[in-house]
């Protein structure tokens, strides 16, 4: 977080880090908003959008502190980070791992979507063709289609099946299913698999 972020960007980065389960980064982003956990604004009757954000940031700050006290921050081995992206993963079941990542710099959003479209293209698009009914409606009504690039893909390699999708909010979620009878021996292989997902987005041109 080299540059000072605007209030809304810092708050949203914090919210996204919270979603990913990365409390340490969430706290760091909240510090940029000036939040200190003081919930004094809750008793106020008047707001403006900035004050509303500050109030929410303070609430989240208090929540994060509670989470850290309860030791809910993932172990560093479960944090995956590249230049523009960062996330955390956890083990949902013996052979299922879930990874959630967010942008460290929200101004990178257009680049993320562009690159995700390219990576998805490399792995093969999986969009179902529109039904005949909708195609017909579209042609008759002279409708406008929203730009809707495919932002999900599937990677299969080394006993791992990794499903990646990126939402409108520029959040990345990947699920890794370990397909061998023998469970993974260490967390490094899983970490590396998720790191490769982020690296593929960083390196594609």
């Amino acid at each position: 977080m080299a540059e000072a972020l605007s209030l809304s960007e810092a708050y949203i980065t914090a919210r996204q880090a919270w979603w990913a389960g990365d409390l340490v980064y969430c706290l760091r982003a909240l510090t940029e908003t000036g939040a200190d956990g003081n919930d004094e604004l809750a008793s106020h009757d008047e707001y403006d959008p900035v004050r509303l954000l500050r109030w929410r940031a303070n609430q989240l700050y208090a929540q994060v502190l509670r989470g850290l006290k309860e030791e809910r921050q993932p172990d560093p081995a479960f944090i995956v980070e590249t230049r523009h992206l960062r996330g955390a993963f956890h083990q949902a079941s013996p052979r299922l791992f879930e990874f959630r990542a967010f942008m460290r710099d929200l101004t990178w959003d257009e680049e993320l979507f562009r690159r995700a479209t390219m990576v998805a293209g490399r792995y093969g698009r999986q969009v179902a063709a529109p039904s005949a009914k909708y195609q017909e409606e579209e042609e008759n009504a002279g409708t406008i289609n929203f730009d809707d690039p495919e932002l999900s893909w599937l990677e299969i390699r080394d006993h791992m099946l990794v499903e990646v999708s990126i939402s409108e909010f520029a959040l990345l979620r990947a699920q890794l299913t370990w397909t061998s009878h023998v469970p993974p021996a260490d967390v490094e292989r899983i970490h590396l698999a998720f790191l490769n997902v982020l690296r593929s987005l960083e390196s594609v041109r």
Partner: protein, 258 residues
């Protein structure tokens, strides 16, 4: 699932039970694959629902079939109504609306992820679902749609969503308006430039229809009159405003015909 999106200034009604008039603009189509809903819900949905995309897909389908129970004719006199089907859960439907409002902001208004702030309601106060923070794309879109200069539009817009299975009626839109109204009341003194402006996104799942109502005052004097009215009221008075009194608010807004 593909949804037709209708854009309206305010809302128009023929009478209380009839559908609003169609938008004169060509209806854009919004494609919403279930996979997109999953991640968006985890981030911005108020309710904790796993695999929301599958719910969304099933709830949008018509006819809706949710694992119907096989009827076993035992003790017929004691079974006045065998459970033959399952209903959609209202909170899951509501979650869909919340997510779709976010998608509309992202795709239709090109609001960047860093400018779309998802809010959570205070226990004692109504709050809209989102506030858009400084989105030039939104302002250009609204200005072109409503035929007004961007200079007069506020930088922050609240968005409220409503979702239902079939046809939504006036009460649903009024309920959404009340959320926005509470926001206007909160900002009446500290950010009066934003009073009168907002977006209501109404989703009718089985009709594959989304209506975006753009709220804005007729002009500066109406905006000022609305602000003064809000300043003269307590929050409780605004919250308890009867349906018949809503014209006290809507007469200051464009696109309302009663």
């Amino acid at each position: 699932m593909r949804f037709k999106v209708h854009l309206l200034l305010g809302w128009q009604w023929r009478n209380a039970n009839q559908r609003r008039r169609p938008c004169p603009l060509p209806a854009p189509l919004l494609n919403i694959p279930p996979g997109r809903i999953d991640v968006a819900t985890e981030y911005a949905g108020s309710y904790h629902i796993l695999e929301m995309g599958r719910h969304f897909d099933a709830y949008s389908a018509r006819p809706y079939v949710a694992l119907p129970y096989r009827y076993t004719p035992m003790l017929p006199r004691w079974m006045p109504a065998a459970l033959m089907e399952r209903a959609r859960a209202a909170d899951v439907t509501g979650n869909s609306g919340e997510i779709i409002a976010g998608l509309i902001a992202r795709r239709l208004f090109k609001v960047r992820p860093g400018s779309l702030v998802h809010l959570r309601a205070r226990v004692d106060r109504r709050t809209p679902d989102y506030v858009i923070d400084n989105s030039p794309q939104l302002l250009s879109f609204i200005a072109a749609f409503a035929g007004v200069p961007t200079a007069g539009l506020p930088a922050h817009w609240p968005i409220e969503s409503k979702a239902g299975i079939g046809l939504l009626d006036r009460r649903d839109s009024e309920a959404a308006l009340r959320q926005i109204l509470a926001y206007w009341h909160h900002i009446r003194n500290r950010y009066s430039d934003g009073v009168g402006y907002g977006l209501i996104v109404t989703t009718e799942l089985t009709r594959a229809s989304i209506t975006v109502s753009v709220l804005m005052p007729h002009n500066a004097s109406h905006a000022s009159a609305l602000t003064n009215y809000l300043r003269s009221c307590t929050y409780e008075q605004i919250k308890g405003l009867a349906a018949d009194d809503l014209p006290l608010i809507t007469r200051h807004l464009r696109g309302f015909d009663g």
